[in-house]
Symmetry: C3
Subunit: 350 residues, 3 copies
């Protein structure tokens, strides 16, 4: 975490570059790098707040603000009309969490600690929840493929699906709070002790500051996307599916991997599965509603590739999570699937 | 069960409406409502017969007559050439059982009784059997999508698949009879004690009467479908996938939910999984053969949507069933998937 | 095994037929039948060698030469430009192993020995590995379907995927060698005792002789394919997906079934799952590289049908393998899926 702070020097570079009209690639890379520590700070302040408010409200804070950085970036992208990038970043966040983060955690945790065991109940609930989320994301898309002629029903269907997703997300939180072990199941309070030195006031100020900074950086980042895409010859889709999710979650990813390394695989999987659930069942439907209010309605229509990647990724993760134990080979398997998927995304024509 | 009897008053209304040429919607709704208690009566008489014949023959009776009401309705629909409605009602019955009925059972049973545990062996066998059934239903459809030019092979493939399905259905029954616990695994003898007051003679007469009544109501119902579809602006497909399965199985559904509420989740899941297996591996192939004899050959070609709904529904149900325990959240998850699927079906263009 | 030796009389018939220009069907059938005992001999000599070299090197020998017969046939097919046949034989080998061989083993083993139990850990690892392999095989195909206009990226993507597959195959071998029980997990040393009478020298000579014989027979077989296809009215695809995998693996299949019959279901499943893993993660990528060197680049683009068959077959096998016990019904289920898939393949237009 500390080492990431050095990336803050890219914040003034990004803003300066934007004002002085530096090449878009430079502005893009600088703002992307600067988002990393800002998102990390946002996560830490959320946890510090959660430590002060008690487990219930704290869990709720983590459940709603855990992916706030990515939410802010995608809101700016919606305003700029980059809907494909927004949808790609939803897909990328989910598979990034279940394949890359979980894969790295299971691989390193397994190499260090041998076979790691955990309670199957919560992991099973999360895996089913994730499978449901993917099903919910698939259905409007498949509807669209089968009946492309009409756009109206797809929007209504997306809205209805979004409502259903939010309902089951809230029920899932209720279930975790009431039935789960004292350890948090969906939130990220791993390093709570270290942060509890921050007072509520400090935490709120840091949260506010980080939010403003991310908003500014998002505006800069999104503004530089189109030109960057043209210059580098990579697709907007690739930026959405690989770059945005990485940038918004590096700090969180680091926590998940460290936790697995410390032989707390259960907590590590709660972080990675929980974060992807939050994106799928909370952020995605929220974006549907907000985008409608912003006049740029986002439908839950993903391309065939995203659907296959989501389905395959979640299915394999569910298989790994379900038997209650992990080993390094399973981590390597998850990473292999991620590598193949990322390679395929890279080759998608611009 | 008793409360459903009141719906019998719709039987004369439906028949009268048909004779006096009332609006099709009225006739359709009245006949649909009247089928509910008639199907329930049919189920009760089958169970009463089964109670007299001993477990083996009784299990066989349940295994063949358990979905007789729906079989009758679909036969009339085949005669009227409504093949899409027939196929939709097969899909709808399967996902209705594994998502709606099982979901409601697991949700209410879990809220009342907390975590409910059951023996994994039979549930695992049923889940694999169901996955196999869905694979069998998918393969001719995918064949058709890939090679639309020729119709002949699809019919032959449907027939061959139907034979394979019947064989594995019979083997599944044999397995259940020989290896399962004394409690019925595929049949519905839940309330056998209450019904055993009916003599064989009474049961046979009731069975005959209910069959005749359902036949008449089916004729009326099917005759009113097309006009109803036009007047209400909903699709024939929606009627097939949501309305027909509901109407033919309300009584059975009520039994499954009550059983879960009484903390007999194993029996409840045997009812819902068993009923969907019966539709998939017994009723569907039977319809293929009978439709051929009737000159309106039904192929096992489902639309993309039905296939996705079947696959996703059965996969999630298999995940829920497989770990040997259920909780209310899993019930809510199944119902959420059903709601999203039903919503999508509702928006399918007329 | 011994009874298969009689098929050697078809070797001279095939070669004679080729030289004397007998009808292609005769040459095709004779060479196909003669491959069976030659492949069996190759397997025995590999195992005899492995018995002399110690478990590590022996495991490696089995892991690389276990499907050598099929590798040789497909190399000749690549040289002849029959790329569809090659890809079909990869698909056919995988589903043949997980559905036909595993199905037969589980069915006969279950009928003889009742419920058979085994350690879930290695079976679970193999099942996840297989799911990963299928995902890896699917992704380039789906990429191709979505972006048919460009061929270049698909080749690059196939190469990248092939590298990833080989890496995870080697990691999987390492995992098995280090963590597995003393019994072989991926190889086929079942009858090692019987063969240990062969000296290293004899084994090497037999291996060399069998390889040369298979190479000659493969040339004859591949040369007769096109004419046979036209005469019999079956598709090249059907020969690739059903005939080639059967011919190359009969001996191995017999071992797997015998082992299950002797109540060693764990070893039997290691053989069938291990062999399909070897095809998917070792033979398939190897063919991608070799075909590129031969100037007839093979891409990992399978048709929709193969993908569905692979996915459904592996998913059902994973469900069967995962709970750590098998019964005869599960065997019948696997065989039923194989029968339906084979029927569908049979009807694919020439």
């Amino acid at each position: 975490m500390k080492y990431l702070s050095i990336l803050f020097i890219f914040a003034p570079i990004a803003i300066l570059g934007e004002l002085l009209h530096w090449p878009a690639v430079v502005v893009f890379i600088a703002s992307a790098l600067a988002v990393i520590p800002a998102a990390g700070l946002m996560g830490r302040s959320t946890e510090a707040l959660a430590a002060h408010t008690g487990p219930r409200l704290g869990g709720l804070l983590n459940a709603t603000l855990g992916n706030a950085a990515e939410l802010i970036i995608t809101l700016f992208a919606i305003r700029a009309g980059l809907l494909d990038l927004v949808k790609a970043s939803i897909t990328g966040s989910i598979i990034g969490n279940v394949l890359l983060v979980m894969g790295m955690s299971v691989l390193l945790g397994g190499l260090k600690n041998g076979v790691q065991r955990f309670d199957r109940t919560q992991a099973g609930v999360n895996a089913t929840q994730l499978l449901l989320a993917v099903a919910a994301l698939m259905i409007p898309s498949l509807f669209f493929f089968a009946h492309t002629e009409t756009n109206g029903p797809v929007e209504s269907l997306s809205l209805g699906t979004a409502v259903a997703m939010l309902v089951i997300y809230v029920l899932g939180l209720l279930f975790s709070f009431r039935f789960a072990s004292p350890e948090p199941a969906l939130g990220i309070e791993v390093e709570a002790e270290e942060h509890s030195t921050w007072s509520t006031r400090t935490a709120l100020l840091v949260l506010l500051g980080a939010t403003v900074l991310i908003a500014i950086l998002s505006e800069v980042l999104v503004g530089a996307v189109e030109e960057t895409v043209q210059m580098l010859g990579i697709s907007e889709f690739f930026i959405g599916i690989i770059v945005v999710p990485l940038v918004g979650n590096v700090a969180e990813h680091a926590v998940a991997v460290q936790t697995a390394f410390k032989n707390k695989i259960e907590l590590s999987m709660a972080v990675s599965l929980g974060s992807s659930l939050q994106i799928a069942l909370f952020v995605a439907p929220l974006l549907v509603f907000i985008s409608l209010l912003m006049g740029n309605p986002l439908t839950l229509v993903f391309n065939q590739f995203e659907i296959v990647a989501l389905f395959v990724g979640v299915l394999i993760a569910a298989f790994v999570a379900q038997d209650g134990e992990t080993n390094w080979l399973e981590g390597a398997q998850l990473l292999t699937v991620y590598a193949i998927v990322a390679l395929a995304f890279f080759f998608v024509p611009v």
